[in-house]
Symmetry: C2
Subunit: 159 residues, 2 copies
Amino acid sequence: MRMRLAPLALAAAAIPALAADPPAVPYPDGYRDWQHVKSMVIEEGHPLYAAFGGIHHLYANALALEGYRSGRFPDGAIIVFDLLEANAADAAIVEGPRKVVGVMHKDVARWPATGGWGFEGFAGDSKTERAVGADAASACYSCHAPQKDADYVFSKARP
Amino acid sequence: MRMRLAPLALAAAAIPALAADPPAVPYPDGYRDWQHVKSMVIEEGHPLYAAFGGIHHLYANALALEGYRSGRFPDGAIIVFDLLEANAADAAIVEGPRKVVGVMHKDVARWPATGGWGFEGFAGDSKTERAVGADAASACYSCHAPQKDADYVFSKARP
Protein backbone atom coordinates (compact mmCIF):
# COMPACT_ATOMS: atom_id res chain seq x y z
CA MET A 1 0.00 0.00 0.00
CA ARG A 2 2.70 2.47 0.91
CA MET A 3 4.29 2.11 -2.52
CA ARG A 4 1.05 2.84 -4.34
CA LEU A 5 0.03 5.91 -2.27
CA ALA A 6 3.29 7.78 -2.43
CA PRO A 7 2.95 9.01 -6.04
CA LEU A 8 -0.61 10.24 -5.36
CA ALA A 9 0.53 12.28 -2.37
CA LEU A 10 3.31 13.84 -4.40
CA ALA A 11 0.94 14.65 -7.24
CA ALA A 12 -1.54 16.39 -4.93
CA ALA A 13 1.16 18.52 -3.38
CA ALA A 14 2.27 19.65 -6.82
CA ILE A 15 -1.09 20.86 -8.16
CA PRO A 16 -0.61 24.61 -8.62
CA ALA A 17 -4.32 25.49 -8.53
CA LEU A 18 -4.71 24.10 -5.01
CA ALA A 19 -1.57 25.83 -3.78
CA ALA A 20 -2.75 29.19 -5.13
CA ASP A 21 -6.21 29.22 -3.53
CA PRO A 22 -6.25 31.49 -0.48
CA PRO A 23 -7.03 29.83 2.86
CA ALA A 24 -10.70 29.87 3.85
CA VAL A 25 -11.75 32.69 6.16
CA PRO A 26 -13.26 31.32 9.40
CA TYR A 27 -16.82 32.22 10.38
CA PRO A 28 -16.57 35.02 12.99
CA ASP A 29 -18.13 33.21 15.94
CA GLY A 30 -19.40 35.51 18.67
CA TYR A 31 -19.21 38.71 16.66
CA ARG A 32 -22.57 39.92 18.02
CA ASP A 33 -20.78 40.44 21.35
CA TRP A 34 -18.09 42.61 19.73
CA GLN A 35 -18.12 46.36 19.70
CA HIS A 36 -20.54 48.03 17.31
CA VAL A 37 -18.42 50.44 15.23
CA LYS A 38 -21.03 52.23 13.10
CA SER A 39 -23.98 51.67 10.76
CA MET A 40 -25.26 52.81 7.38
CA VAL A 41 -28.29 52.35 5.14
CA ILE A 42 -27.83 51.75 1.39
CA GLU A 43 -31.00 52.33 -0.64
CA GLU A 44 -32.21 51.57 -4.15
CA GLY A 45 -30.35 53.72 -6.67
CA HIS A 46 -27.02 53.52 -4.84
CA PRO A 47 -24.20 52.03 -6.97
CA LEU A 48 -23.62 49.36 -4.31
CA TYR A 49 -27.31 48.53 -3.88
CA ALA A 50 -27.14 45.16 -5.64
CA ALA A 51 -24.39 43.92 -3.35
CA PHE A 52 -25.01 45.85 -0.15
CA GLY A 53 -28.57 47.21 -0.19
CA GLY A 54 -30.09 47.29 3.28
CA ILE A 55 -28.84 48.40 6.69
CA HIS A 56 -25.40 47.26 7.70
CA HIS A 57 -23.64 47.31 11.03
CA LEU A 58 -19.90 47.01 11.50
CA TYR A 59 -18.53 45.08 14.45
CA ALA A 60 -14.88 44.86 15.48
CA ASN A 61 -13.03 42.42 17.72
CA ALA A 62 -10.50 43.77 20.24
CA LEU A 63 -7.57 43.62 17.79
CA ALA A 64 -9.58 45.42 15.13
CA LEU A 65 -10.40 48.17 17.64
CA GLU A 66 -6.64 48.66 18.00
CA GLY A 67 -6.49 49.03 14.23
CA TYR A 68 -9.24 51.65 14.14
CA ARG A 69 -7.29 53.62 16.74
CA SER A 70 -3.79 53.28 15.25
CA GLY A 71 -4.59 52.97 11.53
CA ARG A 72 -2.72 49.64 11.27
CA PHE A 73 -4.67 46.47 11.91
CA PRO A 74 -2.65 43.69 13.59
CA ASP A 75 -2.87 40.02 12.59
CA GLY A 76 -6.01 38.58 14.16
CA ALA A 77 -8.05 41.74 13.66
CA ILE A 78 -11.54 40.89 12.40
CA ILE A 79 -14.19 43.29 11.10
CA VAL A 80 -17.73 42.07 10.45
CA PHE A 81 -20.09 43.76 7.99
CA ASP A 82 -23.50 42.54 9.16
CA LEU A 83 -26.02 43.27 6.39
CA LEU A 84 -29.74 43.09 7.13
CA GLU A 85 -32.71 43.93 4.97
CA ALA A 86 -33.96 47.47 5.58
CA ASN A 87 -37.74 47.68 5.51
CA ALA A 88 -39.03 51.21 4.95
CA ALA A 89 -42.64 52.06 5.82
CA ASP A 90 -44.54 54.88 7.55
CA ALA A 91 -41.48 57.15 7.73
CA ALA A 92 -39.37 54.57 9.52
CA ILE A 93 -36.75 52.02 8.48
CA VAL A 94 -36.59 48.83 10.51
CA GLU A 95 -34.27 45.86 10.33
CA GLY A 96 -35.32 42.75 8.45
CA PRO A 97 -33.72 39.34 8.02
CA ARG A 98 -29.95 39.01 7.69
CA LYS A 99 -28.67 39.04 4.10
CA VAL A 100 -24.99 38.32 4.59
CA VAL A 101 -22.26 38.37 7.22
CA GLY A 102 -19.25 39.93 5.50
CA VAL A 103 -15.85 39.36 7.08
CA MET A 104 -12.41 40.94 6.83
CA HIS A 105 -9.84 38.89 8.73
CA LYS A 106 -6.29 40.23 8.94
CA ASP A 107 -3.41 37.79 8.68
CA VAL A 108 -0.55 38.82 6.43
CA ALA A 109 0.90 35.31 6.14
CA ARG A 110 -2.41 33.73 5.16
CA TRP A 111 -3.69 36.35 2.71
CA PRO A 112 -0.67 38.15 1.22
CA ALA A 113 -2.29 38.69 -2.19
CA THR A 114 -5.23 40.73 -0.86
CA GLY A 115 -3.57 43.30 1.34
CA GLY A 116 -3.05 40.90 4.22
CA TRP A 117 -6.81 40.50 4.63
CA GLY A 118 -9.00 37.49 4.05
CA PHE A 119 -12.45 38.41 2.68
CA GLU A 120 -15.58 36.27 2.90
CA GLY A 121 -19.33 36.54 3.01
CA PHE A 122 -21.58 34.06 4.80
CA ALA A 123 -25.06 33.97 3.30
CA GLY A 124 -27.98 34.83 5.60
CA ASP A 125 -27.64 33.12 8.96
CA SER A 126 -25.47 30.33 7.59
CA LYS A 127 -22.03 29.72 9.04
CA THR A 128 -20.98 27.57 6.09
CA GLU A 129 -22.57 28.90 2.89
CA ARG A 130 -19.82 31.03 1.38
CA ALA A 131 -20.64 33.86 -1.03
CA VAL A 132 -17.07 34.85 -1.92
CA GLY A 133 -14.76 31.84 -1.65
CA ALA A 134 -11.80 32.04 -4.00
CA ASP A 135 -13.12 35.23 -5.65
CA ALA A 136 -11.95 37.60 -2.91
CA ALA A 137 -9.43 39.39 -5.12
CA SER A 138 -12.01 40.43 -7.71
CA ALA A 139 -15.15 40.49 -5.55
CA CYS A 140 -13.73 42.38 -2.54
CA TYR A 141 -10.13 43.45 -2.71
CA SER A 142 -10.46 45.32 -5.99
CA CYS A 143 -12.74 47.86 -4.29
CA HIS A 144 -10.71 47.96 -1.06
CA ALA A 145 -7.30 48.39 -2.71
CA PRO A 146 -7.54 52.21 -3.04
CA GLN A 147 -7.95 52.36 0.75
CA LYS A 148 -4.35 51.21 1.20
CA ASP A 149 -3.46 54.21 3.39
CA ALA A 150 -6.17 53.12 5.83
CA ASP A 151 -4.96 49.49 5.72
CA TYR A 152 -7.72 48.71 3.18
CA VAL A 153 -10.52 49.57 5.61
CA PHE A 154 -13.27 52.02 4.59
CA SER A 155 -14.95 52.57 7.96
CA LYS A 156 -13.84 54.88 10.72
CA ALA A 157 -14.70 54.23 14.35
CA ARG A 158 -17.39 56.48 15.80
CA PRO A 159 -17.34 57.48 19.52
CA MET B 1 -23.41 77.50 65.52
CA ARG B 2 -24.95 74.12 66.25
CA MET B 3 -28.04 75.72 67.74
CA ARG B 4 -28.64 77.92 64.67
CA LEU B 5 -28.12 75.16 62.05
CA ALA B 6 -30.39 72.54 63.54
CA PRO B 7 -33.72 74.11 62.52
CA LEU B 8 -32.49 74.59 58.94
CA ALA B 9 -31.57 70.94 58.63
CA LEU B 10 -34.98 69.89 59.91
CA ALA B 11 -36.74 72.24 57.51
CA ALA B 12 -34.83 70.90 54.49
CA ALA B 13 -35.65 67.31 55.40
CA ALA B 14 -39.33 68.15 55.57
CA ILE B 15 -39.73 69.77 52.13
CA PRO B 16 -42.10 67.41 50.28
CA ALA B 17 -41.05 68.50 46.79
CA LEU B 18 -37.48 67.37 47.36
CA ALA B 19 -38.56 64.08 48.87
CA ALA B 20 -40.83 63.32 45.88
CA ASP B 21 -38.31 63.95 43.10
CA PRO B 22 -37.03 60.67 41.67
CA PRO B 23 -33.30 59.97 42.09
CA ALA B 24 -31.14 61.15 39.20
CA VAL B 25 -30.29 58.47 36.61
CA PRO B 26 -26.50 58.04 36.30
CA TYR B 27 -24.80 58.60 32.94
CA PRO B 28 -24.21 55.14 31.41
CA ASP B 29 -20.41 55.18 31.32
CA GLY B 30 -18.89 52.68 28.92
CA TYR B 31 -22.11 51.87 27.08
CA ARG B 32 -20.34 51.90 23.68
CA ASP B 33 -18.65 48.66 24.78
CA TRP B 34 -22.01 47.01 25.53
CA GLN B 35 -23.86 44.73 23.17
CA HIS B 36 -25.61 46.35 20.23
CA VAL B 37 -29.21 45.15 20.39
CA LYS B 38 -30.76 46.64 17.24
CA SER B 39 -31.17 49.86 15.26
CA MET B 40 -33.88 51.89 13.55
CA VAL B 41 -34.24 55.03 11.45
CA ILE B 42 -37.07 57.49 12.16
CA GLU B 43 -37.71 59.94 9.32
CA GLU B 44 -39.63 63.17 8.84
CA GLY B 45 -43.36 62.50 8.95
CA HIS B 46 -43.12 59.87 11.69
CA PRO B 47 -45.17 60.73 14.81
CA LEU B 48 -42.01 60.47 16.94
CA TYR B 49 -39.84 62.49 14.56
CA ALA B 50 -39.66 65.59 16.76
CA ALA B 51 -38.34 63.60 19.71
CA PHE B 52 -36.52 60.72 18.03
CA GLY B 53 -35.82 61.65 14.40
CA GLY B 54 -32.54 60.17 13.15
CA ILE B 55 -30.89 56.78 13.46
CA HIS B 56 -30.89 55.16 16.88
CA HIS B 57 -28.97 52.21 18.24
CA LEU B 58 -29.91 50.29 21.35
CA TYR B 59 -27.19 48.99 23.64
CA ALA B 60 -27.69 46.70 26.64
CA ASN B 61 -25.47 45.92 29.62
CA ALA B 62 -25.13 42.30 30.76
CA LEU B 63 -28.11 42.49 33.15
CA ALA B 64 -30.29 44.00 30.43
CA LEU B 65 -29.34 41.14 28.10
CA GLU B 66 -30.76 38.80 30.76
CA GLY B 67 -33.94 40.85 30.62
CA TYR B 68 -34.22 40.61 26.85
CA ARG B 69 -33.90 36.83 27.17
CA SER B 70 -36.26 36.29 30.11
CA GLY B 71 -38.71 39.17 29.67
CA ARG B 72 -38.04 40.48 33.20
CA PHE B 73 -35.23 42.98 33.64
CA PRO B 74 -33.35 42.67 36.95
CA ASP B 75 -32.25 45.65 39.04
CA GLY B 76 -29.11 47.08 37.49
CA ALA B 77 -30.25 46.44 33.92
CA ILE B 78 -29.48 49.44 31.71
CA ILE B 79 -30.63 50.05 28.14
CA VAL B 80 -29.18 52.94 26.13
CA PHE B 81 -31.01 54.56 23.21
CA ASP B 82 -28.19 56.25 21.30
CA LEU B 83 -29.73 58.74 18.87
CA LEU B 84 -27.63 60.21 16.04
CA GLU B 85 -28.57 62.47 13.20
CA ALA B 86 -29.34 60.51 10.03
CA ASN B 87 -28.03 62.25 6.92
CA ALA B 88 -29.68 61.05 3.72
CA ALA B 89 -28.02 61.75 0.37
CA ASP B 90 -27.29 59.87 -2.87
CA ALA B 91 -29.42 56.87 -1.88
CA ALA B 92 -27.59 56.31 1.39
CA ILE B 93 -28.19 57.26 5.01
CA VAL B 94 -25.12 57.89 7.12
CA GLU B 95 -24.72 58.71 10.79
CA GLY B 96 -24.27 62.31 11.88
CA PRO B 97 -23.57 63.89 15.26
CA ARG B 98 -25.13 62.47 18.42
CA LYS B 99 -28.44 64.05 19.41
CA VAL B 100 -29.15 62.40 22.73
CA VAL B 101 -28.16 59.41 24.86
CA GLY B 102 -31.43 58.06 26.24
CA VAL B 103 -31.24 55.78 29.27
CA MET B 104 -33.53 53.29 30.99
CA HIS B 105 -32.04 52.12 34.27
CA LYS B 106 -33.90 49.46 36.23
CA ASP B 107 -34.05 49.73 40.00
CA VAL B 108 -37.41 49.11 41.59
CA ALA B 109 -36.50 50.74 44.90
CA ARG B 110 -35.23 53.93 43.30
CA TRP B 111 -37.91 54.46 40.66
CA PRO B 112 -41.12 52.80 41.90
CA ALA B 113 -43.44 55.38 40.29
CA THR B 114 -42.24 54.72 36.71
CA GLY B 115 -42.41 50.95 36.42
CA GLY B 116 -39.18 50.40 38.34
CA TRP B 117 -37.21 52.23 35.65
CA GLY B 118 -35.37 55.51 35.80
CA PHE B 119 -35.54 57.45 32.52
CA GLU B 120 -33.12 60.14 31.39
CA GLY B 121 -31.70 61.74 28.26
CA PHE B 122 -28.23 63.25 28.05
CA ALA B 123 -28.01 65.92 25.37
CA GLY B 124 -25.50 65.39 22.55
CA ASP B 125 -22.17 64.19 23.90
CA SER B 126 -22.73 65.69 27.34
CA LYS B 127 -22.63 63.49 30.42
CA THR B 128 -24.30 66.16 32.56
CA GLU B 129 -26.84 68.08 30.47
CA ARG B 130 -30.12 66.38 31.29
CA ALA B 131 -33.06 66.53 28.90
CA VAL B 132 -35.62 64.74 31.08
CA GLY B 133 -34.84 65.31 34.76
CA ALA B 134 -37.93 65.22 36.96
CA ASP B 135 -40.27 64.92 33.93
CA ALA B 136 -39.71 61.18 33.40
CA ALA B 137 -43.29 60.24 34.26
CA SER B 138 -44.84 62.45 31.58
CA ALA B 139 -41.95 62.59 29.09
CA CYS B 140 -41.06 58.87 29.01
CA TYR B 141 -43.11 56.57 31.19
CA SER B 142 -46.47 57.63 29.77
CA CYS B 143 -45.48 56.11 26.40
CA HIS B 144 -43.78 53.06 27.94
CA ALA B 145 -46.61 52.16 30.34
CA PRO B 146 -48.62 50.13 27.77
CA GLN B 147 -45.56 47.88 27.37
CA LYS B 148 -46.05 46.56 30.92
CA ASP B 149 -46.13 42.92 29.76
CA ALA B 150 -42.62 43.39 28.33
CA ASP B 151 -41.44 45.11 31.53
CA TYR B 152 -41.99 48.51 29.83
CA VAL B 153 -39.41 47.82 27.11
CA PHE B 154 -40.32 48.28 23.43
CA SER B 155 -37.30 46.68 21.78
CA LYS B 156 -36.68 42.98 21.24
CA ALA B 157 -33.18 41.54 20.96
CA ARG B 158 -32.08 40.59 17.45
CA PRO B 159 -29.72 37.63 16.87
